[in-house]
């Protein structure tokens, strides 16, 4: 009954979400009650958004498609594009989940059932453990299962299937069987009004599980390349999509088929004084935070890293960066205690002990459930991140 209710709320909130994403995004980043100066007016003003073909194709990771055309896509359209490419290039690929048949509650699967057939793009009954288990079964016999969990908040009924089954399938069979063909997509992170069960970032719940990969993109270009890589990777992958970016982030995305590497972080802004790490939509809060911090500390040079793959994670890139800057700030929306920042912080203090000039700082969600009306006070906002940068620099 409660689940049914939840599904209804989700469905209602979709309409609302789709309208509100841009509004809430802009409220978050720009309009008032006025945040402290220095905020960008919206995600699309971010310098990490590739709004021209030239900018998009300048990325060395996209060298393989440097002659491709590009088209303007938001993040949900980039998901759709990746799914369509996966279905077109792999006869054994299927897409399924709750409400994916008509296009999905976030529009990510629009038109796919019509194009590829209802036997390849279909609705599942409302059962997350069933969806994950069914996908494992398809993958176990060599098929490509791309399943959707409607919100990352609802992945927990599938926790057993993911942790005890998908993650251990190859290991426990001595490599005889594997479920590398499985990808579980799920919208994650804050959306402005999602409260407890439409806002969570459960990545750290899964990174304690050897055998799976966890990936979170930050933009449409990243989404297409990372999702295609996740689908084609020979290991089960949880692909978490920041839902606030579904409509808010718009880029020129290469039309051609391309993949971006899993397990690799990306330095999206080079700097020398301070390393800042984030992932997903938090990177835009961090971009704002850097601008704010630079107002108070003119000349501050920050290296901003998008972790992208949470498991396995790219310690090497972070170590290299911190060995250069000597300072580290990690920020994520999920609660602080047991969050992935803890793992990064512990690893970096181990590997960069002699280079660290200040304690590693974590700016995270508070250790509470994700609240409705207090969201602005809960999230690791640009203000909190900028304040932490100041503390690190003045240590």
């Amino acid at each position: 009954m409660f689940r049914h209710l939840a599904a209804k709320i989700c469905t209602n909130s979709i309409v609302c979400t789709n309208k509100c994403v841009v509004r809430s995004a802009s409220r978050f980043y720009a309009s008032g009650p006025p945040p402290a100066g220095g905020f960008l007016p919206g995600v699309n003003e971010s310098k990490f958004i590739m709004d021209t073909k030239e900018k998009a194709l300048a990325n060395p990771e996209l060298a393989a498609v440097k002659n491709s055309e590009t088209k303007k896509l938001n993040l949900y359209q980039a998901v759709n594009e990746a799914l369509s490419t996966a279905l077109a290039t792999d006869d054994k690929a299927v897409v399924f989940g709750e409400d994916v048949g008509f296009g999905g509650v976030f529009r990510c699967t629009m038109g796919l059932a019509e194009k590829y057939g209802k036997h390849r793009v279909f609705n599942a009954p409302l059962t997350e453990q069933g969806i994950a288990g069914f996908g494992i079964g398809m993958a176990a016999v060599g098929h490509t299962a791309i399943a959707e969990i409607q919100f990352a908040d609802y992945v927990f009924p599938a926790f057993d299937q993911i942790v005890n089954e998908a993650a251990k399938y190859r290991y426990r069979s001595g490599g005889q069987f594997d479920v590398g063909g499985l990808t579980l997509r799920m919208p994650c992170m804050a959306v402005g009004h999602g409260a407890h069960y439409h806002s969570q970032s459960p990545e750290s719940q899964f990174v304690h599980t050897p055998g799976i990969k966890v990936v979170i993109p930050r933009s449409p270009i990243q989404t297409k390349g990372l999702l295609l890589a996740a689908i084609r990777d020979k290991n089960p992958v949880l692909f978490m999509e920041p839902k606030i970016l579904y409509r808010a982030a718009v880029e020129q995305v290469p039309v051609d088929d391309y993949v971006l590497p899993l397990g690799k972080a990306e330095v999206i802004q080079e700097g020398t004084d301070l390393t800042v790490i984030g992932w997903g939509s938090q990177l835009y809060a961090l971009e704002n935070a850097i601008m704010l911090a630079q107002k108070n500390m003119p000349g501050l040079s920050v290296e901003l890293i998008d972790l992208r793959s949470i498991l396995p994670w790219d310690a090497e890139t972070i170590v290299k960066s911190v060995n250069k800057t000597g300072r580290l700030l990690i920020s994520h929306e999920a609660p602080q205690t047991g969050g992935f920042a803890s793992e990064i912080a512990a690893t970096i203090q181990d590997k960069c002990f002699l280079r660290l000039e200040a304690p590693i700082q974590r700016v995270c969600g508070w250790d509470t459930p994700f609240p409705l009306i207090f969201e602005k006070f809960y999230v690791p906002s640009a203000i909190r991140c900028a304040d932490a940068m100041e503390r690190i620099m003045k240590y």
Partner: protein
């Protein structure tokens, strides 16, 4: 009076055809008298026949009776042989060729003998754990014989007979239980967690019920690929209480996947008797709720199991639908080597099943009546198989353990940097403290 006749009587009073009512509703109320009175006094037959148009139950008719469905017809148990191995209705004898029949029986004897030896081996501390298959041999061999090697098998843990029937050798069983270098699972899982792609038998895992949705997914993939094959998924009646049972049967039904769900209802889940596991009519009664073709069979009657699985396989593949089979049986052995079942059930109860309802004795009588088996063959086979098992056992015990690097491989397709680092750290520790890490029982690196 049978339930169906009761419906016929009742509905004829109301002027409705019995066939219509029975066809529309599986459920029948046995409260014949009161229902009839209400029917006569308050309900016009015309009003009763009006179909509703609710999308959630498209074939439902309106009724003006306030009837809660409280009692159900108990699903009968299909059998071919009586407990003396005599075929009751000749038309139901599958008349399998003598080679197949003898294979089914010798596999039962082999499994039984292997169980005896391995159980004792665990008692002597030579393997860490074991689970016997006593009393359930017919469900294994009866179903295995009705399938082909193209059919994907998902088991729970008490289905070693299926693997044996498909050709898994004694050495292969022993290697797994000993977690030695030759174990396909590289010594990572507990004993009896078998698996091999050679016989299309997905590796067993301990979490109960998790394999049920896997079977639905695999079956759907077989259908998409146009293969004339199905998936079969074995599970106990205890596992059927897990959420994955519900998820799986519902997904299999809605996706029209060719999968056979075969429940081994042996009366106990460790110490918990079936009465504390559910209050419905076993597991079979749930099939209707999921819109699945369902049957209950005598799991100690190997021919009944064979017939049911054979027809289920045909329906699953040709009609593209899942099928539920509940095989009624009795867990004669302890749950596992970590369990003493006399703590929760009487020895007499077990002895009664062992003596009077043994699936092996029953099948042997069937074979002997057809001159396909004899006491001399029985003795000779038992002696021979015991020797072979002990030989495999001794051989497996002597094989080295897997190389220590196998601890780190196969977590992913390729070892990520953190695992490479952690492997190097273990190597350093082993080198520094050799007295604490005896590597001699282990094989050298595979590289």
């Amino acid at each position: 009076m049978s339930i169906l006749r009761a419906i016929a009587r009742k509905t004829s009073v109301c002027g409705l055809s019995a066939a219509n009512t029975v066809g529309r509703s599986f459920y029948a109320t046995p409260s014949f008298t009161s229902a009839t009175i209400r029917c006569l006094s308050t309900t016009s037959p015309k009003a009763m026949s009006i179909p509703t148009n609710f999308p959630g139950a498209v074939t439902s008719l309106y009724t003006e009776k306030l009837d809660f469905i409280k009692e159900y017809e108990t699903i009968p148990t299909y059998r071919v042989m009586d407990i003396h191995g005599a075929v009751i209705d000749e038309a139901h004898d599958p008349k399998l060729d003598s080679e197949t029949l003898r294979k089914m029986y010798t596999c039962m004897l082999t499994l039984n003998s292997m169980d005896g030896i391995m159980y004792e081996a665990q008692r002597q501390g030579r393997v860490s754990f074991y689970m016997t298959n006593y009393g359930e041999e017919a469900t294994h061999m009866g179903s295995a014989a009705a399938l082909t090697n193209d059919d994907v098998v998902y088991g729970q843990y008490r289905e070693a007979g299926v693997l044996l029937y498909r050709g898994f050798t004694l050495d292969e069983f022993m290697n797994q239980c000993y977690a030695n270098e030759l174990d396909y699972g590289k010594g990572r899982q507990m004993p009896v967690h078998y698996g091999t792609p050679k016989y299309n038998f997905q590796t067993i895992s301990s979490p109960l019920g998790t394999q049920l949705p896997h079977a639905a997914g695999s079956a759907y993939a077989l259908k998409l690929a146009g293969k004339k094959a199905c998936a079969i998924c074995y599970f106990g009646e205890g596992a059927a209480s897990e959420g994955d049972f519900h998820a799986a049967l519902n997904m299999a039904a809605t996706t029209e996947s060719p999968v056979i769900y075969l429940c081994r209802n042996n009366g106990y889940a460790i110490s918990t008797p079936a009465k504390e596991q559910y209050r419905g009519d076993g597991i079979a009664s749930r099939g209707h709720g999921y819109g699945m073709a369902t049957i209950r069979v005598d799991g100690n009657d190997i021919l009944a199991v064979y017939n049911a699985v054979k027809e289920a396989r045909r329906m699953a593949i040709e009609e593209e639908r899942p099928v539920l089979i509940e095989a009624m049986t009795y867990r004669v052995g302890h749950h596992s080597t970590s369990d003493d079942s006399s703590a929760y059930r009487s020895k007499q109860e077990v002895a009664e099943w062992q003596q009077n309802h043994s699936p092996m004795v029953r099948f042997r009588k069937y074979l002997e009546a057809r001159s396909l088996w004899s006491e001399e063959e029985e003795q000779a086979f038992k002696k021979d198989i015991r020797t072979k098992i002990l030989k495999s056992f001794a051989a497996a015990e002597k094989v080295r353990k897997p190389p220590i690097e196998d601890l780190f491989t196969d977590v992913y397709d390729e070892m990520p940097p953190n695992l490479i680092e952690q492997k190097a750290e273990l190597d350093r520790i082993m080198k520094k403290y050799p007295e604490f890490y005896d590597q001699n029982p282990h094989a050298p690196s595979r590289q």
